[in-house]
Symmetry: C2
Subunit: 81 residues, 2 copies
């Protein structure tokens, strides 16, 4: 089974999730850096997550959704996933 | 920032997700092996995902939810996440 490349994980679902995170962040008036810090995620990793370039793990998405006070299911619903 | 150990990722959220996957799988009368094969996921990895022992990636949860004909948001809602 071919492991997705670790450098850059292209998928429309990851892009949709990243766009949803970015939209909710902006609605809350947060900068990407502030969200990264609140979520305890490296700032450059946060940028790649928002651009949909990372096959992010559940616990990291959970950190982001918690920092946005969003349930995981709501965040995925927002991303239409 | 301390990376969760790669050997075994304990978290109640991962356990809740694993239990939800198992419950939906059983409702559909699928064996764990059949779900793993349909999802294109290694069978032992599938077992660890159901036991909540893996900080699974979004694309792998997506493979499982697709194999169960469940949207990601529905699966996370089922897990009360």
């Amino acid at each position: 089974m071919q492991r997705p490349s670790s450098k850059r994980d292209d998928s429309k679902e990851l892009e949709a999730l990243g766009l949803a995170i970015r939209a909710v962040r902006k609605e809350q008036g947060l900068s990407q850096e502030a969200l990264a810090d609140q979520a305890g995620i490296d700032r450059s990793h946060m940028g790649r997550i928002e651009r949909g370039e990372r096959n992010v793990t559940i616990l990291n998405v959970l950190r982001v959704s918690n920092a946005l006070s969003f349930k995981l299911s709501e965040l995925f619903k927002r991303a239409e996933l």
